[in-house]
Amino acid sequence: MLTIKNLHARIGEKEILKGIDLQVNAGEVHAIMGPNGSGKSSLAAVLAGRENYEVTEGEVWLDGKNLLDMKPEDRAREGVFLAFQYPIEIPGVSNINFLKTALSEIRDYRQLPPLTAKEFLKLTKEKQQLVEFDAKLANRSLNEGFSGGEKKRNEVFQLAMLEPKLAVMDETDSGLDIDALRIVSNGVNKLRSEKNAFVLITHYQRLLEYIVPDFVHVLYNGRIVRSGNKELALELEEKGYDWLKEELKVRESSIQ
């Protein structure tokens, strides 16, 4: 589904991603871990098409389409969803109205007719229940005055409504208490299918107890330095990142 080849990106003069390779297939859940400043959130931003990043080298393909050639809205319409680490507040725009607009735009791009009001309402109710999202929040202004946890849950609700192929979740677990974490994880688990894929960006192994990944990758200094299965996450939890850093220093000096 998603193929990333030798991806380099920078902000201004500073290179952040230094050659990322990643293959994500339908039905898979990948976790990307790594210390602060390793480039995890930057990878998410580059996939979504954030303008302040300049891609200097490499390719990103989504089901045979060149993602890097597309505007952010077209990437979304093709099925890329980014659950934001810090969801934005938009006063006066109702959550539901926003979702209706988003869904119509995506459907229009795929040459599907817009849902009728009745169909849309039905879908909204279903998905609200599925991800345990409070109906009151659905009718409020988009994220305005929401708590941190409510904002994250709203991201999962939007994910449920828009049914993307590829969901990139940028530290969705950060700032959540145990109950909220459970609800968010349950939501994601219910949405997992053979047709979609998830990339979970996280600091902590904790999330991966709830959402069990097929693969775990460690991002460090703009590169994926190690990949493995869920055992890798446990190993990291136990040993921290320092042993990896040490190992890398040894390897790099041996290359030189």
């Binding site: 979504a48 098409g49 954030r50 303008e51 505007k71 952010p72 809205e73 990437r75 979304a76 319409r77 969803f81 980014l82 934001f84 969801p87 934005i88 938009i90 006063p91 006066g92 725009v93 109205n97 926003f98 979702l99 607009t101 988003a102 869904l103 735009e105 995506i106 791009y109 202004s141 988009l142 939007q158 828009l162």
Partner: protein, 491 residues
């Protein structure tokens, strides 16, 4: 007295995405060719007499016009505004134009098809459907009303809704009693000019205790080249009555600036309520500010009776310069004045708008919600006066004045004046300034919404409190207009 001037024109420079708010061409740019009956350009006493004669007016009205003309000659251009007022050559303007087919029509079939096509392009709802939807449309095409619908139904309730020329003929006692009593002939230079040369406009009278069952609606359209448009509207709500009046307008594209100096007077007697809504979309000029309408309007309402209420709602998206302060004289005890405004400026547009609330009676209340939106190189000023008189015990005012900036080259300014001569009054003023952030736009982009739609959503959300005051159908139209005005503003 409190004067606050905030200029946020040059905030941070990181918003490249928000910079290109400047490419949309005006959609309603076309000229309808109808055989015009136009007065030669120029302004003197003879012009005033010509107009009055052309309209077969009674002597008292001509005299009033002439008083207005004399006052006009004595007045000077205002100098307090926060923009450069272009030099105005009043001798180059033609002060009268009327479609040559003056007869009133029984059905639309008889109306000049060219005219109908114009209405169609504008989407003016003169068709059956709209009438069925309950809107009586009094269309002012240049200066003379050509069609009044639903009159009969209104007649049965004793409601008078007609052109002001017709009112002068049919209901002279009402016109004579109220015309010029809220905006005097010498009020300001543009109001005086209007008094002297006003062409036509609407007249509404709602009798005692009658609740007008439908929104009364007038569409204005400036059509003849170089023709100043001087509308005069007079609305009287007698004791215990209610009326909601809608005014909306578009204009064809042209190169020379056009002066529009309308006057609107509202009178609410005891326990009466008037709601006056405007959607203004005149030609704003091109990207460089060439052409475009000068919209210098005097709008004022008088809450004459106790417990009366007047509410102004305006959505101002057009014109090169918008200069208007719909105000309320709160004369009756317990009377209420409201002002809800959204003003958008894009490219080189200028809006200097706000309200004046004069608290005269006891327990009078006023509420002001102003939302300014600036994009491109637009300049947006809120200018408001809240005046509490010595007899206005327990008067209350609440003012909220918000500014939204799109891009880095626009400006937002706030000039609130507060004058209180009564220490039992409560006056509150809140103001905010914000910018549409790249983060907000990107968030919406990431959900499949393109940048223009994203801006439209954000702006409509921002203006919601005011848009909610508009009647349903108008609100939808206004939302579209806001989006249209800002389209191309972000690239």
């Amino acid at each position: 007295m409190n004067v606050l001037n905030c200029n946020f024109a040059d905030m941070d420079n990181d918003n490249d995405i928000l910079e290109q708010l400047a490419s949309r061409e005006y959609e309603y740019g076309f000229v309808t060719d109808i055989d015009m009956d136009i007065a030669p350009a120029g302004l003197n006493e003879d012009t005033v007499r010509f107009i009055s004669a052309k309209k077969n007016e009674p002597e008292w009205l001509l005299e009033w016009r002439l008083r207005g003309f004399k006052a006009f000659l004595k007045q000077e251009q205002p100098k307090w505004q926060n923009f450069n007022l272009p030099e105005m050559d009043y001798q180059k303007i033609s002060y009268y134009a009327a479609p040559s087919q003056k007869a009133k029509y029984d059905s639309l079939d008889q109306v000049d098809p060219e005219l109908l096509r114009t209405f169609e392009k504008l989407g003016i709802p003169m068709n059956e459907q709209k009438v069925l939807a309950g809107v009586a449309v009094d269309v002012v095409f240049d200066s003379v009303s050509v069609s009044t619908t639903y009159k009969k139904h209104l007649n049965e309730l004793g409601i008078i809704f007609c052109s002001i020329s017709e009112a002068v003929r049919e209901h002279p006692e009402l016109v004579k009693k109220y015309l010029g009593t809220v905006v005097p002939h010498s009020d300001n230079i543009f109001a005086s000019l209007n008094t002297a040369v006003f062409s036509d406009g609407s007249f509404v009278y709602i009798p005692k205790g009658v609740r007008c069952p439908m929104e009364l609606s007038t569409y204005f359209r400036i059509n003849a080249e170089n023709t100043g448009q001087f509308e005069r509207t007079l609305i009287i709500a007698d004791e215990g009555s209610y009326v909601s009046y809608l005014e909306g307008c578009t204009a064809p594209m042209r190169d020379e600036n056009q002066l529009h100096a309308a006057v609107v007077e509202l009178i609410a007697l005891k326990d009466a309520e008037i709601k006056y809504s405007t959607v203004q979309n005149w030609y704003p000029g091109d990207k460089n500010g060439k052409g475009g309408i000068y919209n210098f309007v005097t709008k004022r309402g008088a809450c004459r009776g106790d417990r009366s209420k007047i509410s102004w709602t305006q959505v101002e998206t057009g014109s090169a310069i918008t200069w208007k302060y719909p105000g309320v004289l709160l004369q009756g005890n317990d009377s209420v004045g409201e002002f809800y405004s959204v003003a958008v400026t894009n490219n080189k547009q200028i809006a200097d708008t706000g309200t004046k609330m004069y608290h005269i009676g006891a327990n009078t209340k006023s509420r002001i919600i102003s939302k300014g939106i600036s994009a491109g190189q637009g300049q947006n000023s809120y200018r408001g006066l809240v005046q509490i008189g010595s007899r206005a015990n327990q008067a209350r005012n609440f003012t909220q004045c918000d500014s939204l900036l799109i891009g880095n080259n626009c400006g937002a300014h706030t000039f609130p004046y507060i004058e209180s001569r009564n220490n039992t009054a409560t006056i509150e003023h809140e103001a905010t300034t914000s910018k549409i952030g790249e983060d907000q736009v990107f968030y919406l982009n990431q959900r499949g919404i393109d940048t223009e739609k994203a801006i439209a959503l954000i702006v409509n959300g921002y203006a919601k409190e005011v848009l909610n005051q508009l009647p349903m159908e108008f609100a939808v139209e206004a939302q579209k207009l806001l989006s249209l005005t800002l389209e191309g503003s972000v690239g």
